[in-house]
Symmetry: D2
Subunit: 464 residues, 4 copies
Amino acid sequence: MKNIKDLKIAYIGGGSKAWARTLMNDLAKEEQLAGTVLLYDIDYVAAKDNETIGNALSSREDIKGKWKYVAKEKIDDALRGADFVFISILPGTFKEMESDVHLPEEYGIYQSVGDTCGPAGIIRSLRTVPMYEDFALAIKRCCPNAWVVNFTNPMTVCVRTLYKVFPEIKAIGCCHEVFGTKRLMVRMLKEKYGIQAQRDDIKINVFGVNHFTWVNEAHFKDMDLVPMYAEYVEEHPNGTEEEWEDNWIHLPDANNAQVKFDLYRRYNIIAAAGDRHLAEFCPGNWYLKDKETVTKFGFTLTTVKWRTDVFTKEKEDKTKELLEGKPFELYESGEEMVAQIKALLGLGDFVTNVNMPNNGQIPNLPNDVVVETNAYFSGDSIKPIFAGEMPKQISGLTLPIIAEQEAVVQAGLTGDYDLAFGAFVNSPNMTTSLDNAREMFDRMLYNTRKYLPFYDEYIANKKK
Amino acid sequence: MKNIKDLKIAYIGGGSKAWARTLMNDLAKEEQLAGTVLLYDIDYVAAKDNETIGNALSSREDIKGKWKYVAKEKIDDALRGADFVFISILPGTFKEMESDVHLPEEYGIYQSVGDTCGPAGIIRSLRTVPMYEDFALAIKRCCPNAWVVNFTNPMTVCVRTLYKVFPEIKAIGCCHEVFGTKRLMVRMLKEKYGIQAQRDDIKINVFGVNHFTWVNEAHFKDMDLVPMYAEYVEEHPNGTEEEWEDNWIHLPDANNAQVKFDLYRRYNIIAAAGDRHLAEFCPGNWYLKDKETVTKFGFTLTTVKWRTDVFTKEKEDKTKELLEGKPFELYESGEEMVAQIKALLGLGDFVTNVNMPNNGQIPNLPNDVVVETNAYFSGDSIKPIFAGEMPKQISGLTLPIIAEQEAVVQAGLTGDYDLAFGAFVNSPNMTTSLDNAREMFDRMLYNTRKYLPFYDEYIANKKK
Amino acid sequence: MKNIKDLKIAYIGGGSKAWARTLMNDLAKEEQLAGTVLLYDIDYVAAKDNETIGNALSSREDIKGKWKYVAKEKIDDALRGADFVFISILPGTFKEMESDVHLPEEYGIYQSVGDTCGPAGIIRSLRTVPMYEDFALAIKRCCPNAWVVNFTNPMTVCVRTLYKVFPEIKAIGCCHEVFGTKRLMVRMLKEKYGIQAQRDDIKINVFGVNHFTWVNEAHFKDMDLVPMYAEYVEEHPNGTEEEWEDNWIHLPDANNAQVKFDLYRRYNIIAAAGDRHLAEFCPGNWYLKDKETVTKFGFTLTTVKWRTDVFTKEKEDKTKELLEGKPFELYESGEEMVAQIKALLGLGDFVTNVNMPNNGQIPNLPNDVVVETNAYFSGDSIKPIFAGEMPKQISGLTLPIIAEQEAVVQAGLTGDYDLAFGAFVNSPNMTTSLDNAREMFDRMLYNTRKYLPFYDEYIANKKK
Amino acid sequence: MKNIKDLKIAYIGGGSKAWARTLMNDLAKEEQLAGTVLLYDIDYVAAKDNETIGNALSSREDIKGKWKYVAKEKIDDALRGADFVFISILPGTFKEMESDVHLPEEYGIYQSVGDTCGPAGIIRSLRTVPMYEDFALAIKRCCPNAWVVNFTNPMTVCVRTLYKVFPEIKAIGCCHEVFGTKRLMVRMLKEKYGIQAQRDDIKINVFGVNHFTWVNEAHFKDMDLVPMYAEYVEEHPNGTEEEWEDNWIHLPDANNAQVKFDLYRRYNIIAAAGDRHLAEFCPGNWYLKDKETVTKFGFTLTTVKWRTDVFTKEKEDKTKELLEGKPFELYESGEEMVAQIKALLGLGDFVTNVNMPNNGQIPNLPNDVVVETNAYFSGDSIKPIFAGEMPKQISGLTLPIIAEQEAVVQAGLTGDYDLAFGAFVNSPNMTTSLDNAREMFDRMLYNTRKYLPFYDEYIANKKK
């Protein structure tokens, strides 16, 4: 029995300016729990900053959830005896991401996010897998019974690596993309019927892989939202104006659900992620053929420059303010971290969508690969809920992605060039020739070599 | 969208004096719902009696849930357009059950219930399958989209037959045996720690086939009940005095959990059904070897005479009183029928244990066979929750039972003597010779021939 | 026990000028067997011609295998009581095929064969499925225990339809594409080591779907041919001059294995079909981007004009000669029809590659779909031999094809426009927009409407 | 490519007086192969004796197959670089076997062989698993690519352990029990039709676990032997006089197929092992209830005394004669070792029944467990042939056996008392009480403790 007033949470990537702050915020608002949050980060200074900010918050009288924040220089010191482990890191730096996302443009390949699949996602995965291998081994060593929650992308690859390396791990991956689809339904209810629903009252059946998830059942109370959605798509031939009402990430330009609606027209099923993600899973000539096509479909290619110059800067400024004493303003995060912790402690059952190994919840996808479906959280237990068979046309798009992810995890663990390149050249938006693909791959691999413990193996193993 | 104030519930076995009354009781207490209950029974008079009793109840001013009860002479008239179908019947009469349960005693085979497996269960199944074939076809014809809930035993065989005959049916089977184990845990918490828990606050992971279910995880809030149960077994070498505190069925003598505890000693896992049921799934020489063994293990062989002379009589007396105007006294049923209806209407999600086809929720049992695990009820949806692999020793006991059930359903649908007899002679408590088994089978089959549309086929198909 | 001197072979498509003649040839050379060949064809005159040609052959003194050939006007008269059924038809006419293959060129989509997958293959499938539905029902009615061998393309779709409609059918599909890869290995052995091997002494492990099969093990006696093949690919950067030494079909230009070798370079595994077939399963921008790319890769787009003006004409001329009395010249067909018949009669076990439902022989492809692997032929039995897991990159290409085939079979049986169009728009070489794809699909469907019993349903079911 | 004139065969149990001599005999008769046989045995003297006998044989002028025999004191010295490994050992001594087989008689449990399942088989397994763990590790270390053939019982447990410990091993288990059923069919053909068939011309489909295998298809040329067998059973109500014409092991009394025929009457399928083995897999009250039942069914309980005083003595005498110079008389062994070696070298394909992991060849048994079915041997490859679903009644008997074997392998690798005892108390012929079973288990475990590296763990882990 865990002492719910003396919990230990380890945070890998504890210098994080986004997810770690959300955790602080949500813990501060929950009075049933207390304990210590141990912050580990390769950027120790950033972890120290969060220690300062977190403890300042905890010391406030108006704060109900009292937690102690401690930065640790060594991962084992953070993990030892942890009840929960959260992971949110940036694999590599924006310099590597610059190569991932923009180098392929030289070959006519455009990517709207570049953190999940396709050329950028594959290279990012290759450098992320060895990091997650280390995390899995450290967790096995220091806190094998802890519940582990990952927020990093490439989500599926991260979670899959954890299970590959330490099969008994109790890990899930959490992503809020699906929430966006619930919010779209909230807006639809308002628009069409004047009904004001809460996001969490929208009940859905989800399946897929992270960022390429699908909803085939949706209810609000006794209303069936699926036929309503079909009408809504017809009523919005050019998309909604703005999908994200309270956009958590201030994109240079928000998408307007046109890709989502186009996919509905193709497949008669609701795609449940943002357009920029969805586009990257489809054949290269559909939505990402060129910049005109992207514009026509109402979304944008998020540049790495924007990530560094606008998005990151904003967070750095905010951190500075907090360190200088500006009070942390509590807000409604919309995230479920604390609800999940409570459910796992036996303090309230709970159903939500998570990324975890397929144990048959999607029977026509392979077992063991990481999929996203609903799961039931209760005392020390997260159990997937049966989601049903994926429609054949959707599985036709998804299975190659799974093959790509499996190959990339394996390659990342072993340094198998051919396996990695096979995934690369076979990815859905690889619209260039075999020779170009090989050149591009080699250049991208070289650019990220600093984070590839197996770089020499890749080169050595390369088929002649 | 269903109109929750004009629902249609069809009740097959609508003359039932037990389950149908519970439904009346629970509907009467729920003010959100209203509509019509259509009562079909081969005993039309009994259905008419329930119509009278139900309408009398509905007409009372103190009753919040207003339902109209209508008896129907034809099954199609009851089913047409139904939103929900409940089924609780007695397959055959107590005369057939007398043969099922007691004839095998001539061959030294004792059965404590005789409605699920073993010689009695197999013969009962053979006459039940054609009835459920008819129900499945009628449902397909009249209300293919209705949710169907079965209460009749043999539970697994009934539900399996529904799916075999009409694969798209939305059917489950509900049984309260598992609740008994939760109540045992409530008592344990009281006895050991003075904690007063509610049954529904005990959260468990269940798997198995109906009446032979197992619990490997159990929590009350943040307390892990499994190690507590291990201690409790050691503290009660001769069982508890009385397992069922508020025994719903007044047995001549209640069991005292000795079989349950013996199974825990053998397998280190919690058996979650009453002892009289559990005993029938085990090899014949374990708990049912002879009357002395039964007594030693603290349970009883429920006689059919008791069922007719005491149990049934009591219910008939009560019915007479109600018809003569004695008011229906509302009570706390502990059943979940109305909660399930509400969840399926979108009025409150809900997790409980049900019998439904294996879609991988128990990965080491065959797909499609009917198993008992937790399921998640929400708007127009019941989805099994992953339960995990059954421990090998338990699957060693369970898989032959599944093979028996599958053979019996198939034989019941086709009149295949060899298949039925193969299951019979191979059942776990078949402790007599091949020749004796054949003689016993033929006599029992003859005794139930009135309810076997295939009786002639059985005899004709018999291997020479 | 079948009388091997009075066998009954039914031939659907019995007017065939290719496969039916090969059967005549091979039966004539085998003295152990005799009986009747019943020829059914919608072109009764063509069947009559074959009756004449076959009987003339049988009457010759030098012929050991004596068979009687009888043309039948009704399919049931041909099938009744048959021991074996062969099927080789042209689904529709060359007019429909003209639309299948060449209409997509207007949208920039090139197809080298057009009988298997992609736009042409899908439309061809939609008109073929109802024909095979009829065949399956007729076989069920007239000769449910017969062994059925299909030669028609789309092979996988034909065989899958037979099993979908009559699941107990004993059917396989035979295709000689894999033999071409064995012949390539024969040539390789000669070229590199001066060894003269026989095709049937090359032992391989095959897996895949028809025309997109792969070989991961190959031996000639105690020589491992896989590393030898890797060298051979490196030694032939521009392909071999001519893959088919004794080209069974005189293509305007033969392929030179460049696509095969390119796939080896990509995936490190031997593709085992002709280049023109292989190309059609790959993303549209790989080998079929435009005519230049095709030329660069050393193969050709087989025009329907060539099929009618050259290929068909040649066979018609030959038929005319035979009918005019020119003697049938026996030849070494290289086909296995008679060897298969003999094995199934218990006259000699035999291993070869066939198309049949996946029963786990390729564990990472779905069960029940039709795959191509080795099978073991013995007395009244064809059993698949375990082939092993398909490498992930290959399954990434294959699973969408399977999804396409499954959708098309289902659509062909039910007239489901959305399902069919979903497959169409999602096919690997669909390089045009959703709107273009829909226009193309509608035009192609219209062009083949004469052979679509469900044409009206397609149009009616079409999503608005 | 292996040099077929310089092969290396390692023999674990190289002092064997039975299987090792058969290998010598069969190698001597085959002129295509030559090389070295390395004999390792914990009884080095016995291995040396075989070295002497083998080399004497090889030196004879009339011998075509020239092999050098070398005894090795260390297992690694025998295995290093081996192409093939054969294993035939006696796990423990006859002293331990005496306890296995006869101690249970004190509790009323009779066992006819005692080397496979049930109390004797389980205890034998517990001491065998650690030995096979060592073999697997040594093979991984010294010759990971060798083909490994096991002859030791408990066959299934031995092969399963090899795969558990070294999953990439290329191992099979070979047993000639199924041949006995083929011989019975040869006799049947002679008796009923005067046809003289050869054993290898009987083609069958086999499935099951070793010693509990079943045949559902059997052909001799174009004759279907299954209906013939059904008649044969009816014609022999008291069994055949003598099942084994040329009994390889001279039992005190041979069985007469009565158990086999009784099982046919129960299940309508041909049991394909000797009666003494079959009996041990059935519930304890069927064939092994007491000595009278055994006698009534026409078979015998093979005593360990007979094994030591008659069977072993005979072989020792024979060895002495050979060492003293009596020439080795070549004979027709009926075994397939050399045929298998040749097939694996690419010198002739071949189908026979073997024990290997289930890769779906029996789809309704769990994957990965070791089953017996036909397999296809060709160049460096043994691939299972699809056998089909096991009939439900048979799987009902088999699945608990598999659960027992899986538990025992796991317990043998880890020293888990509860797991081992769970299997023991749940074995089909465990007809005594839980308390007696525990006492018996503890005594038997104690008697075999010398061969249990985990003996202390068993005792320590024991549930209180």
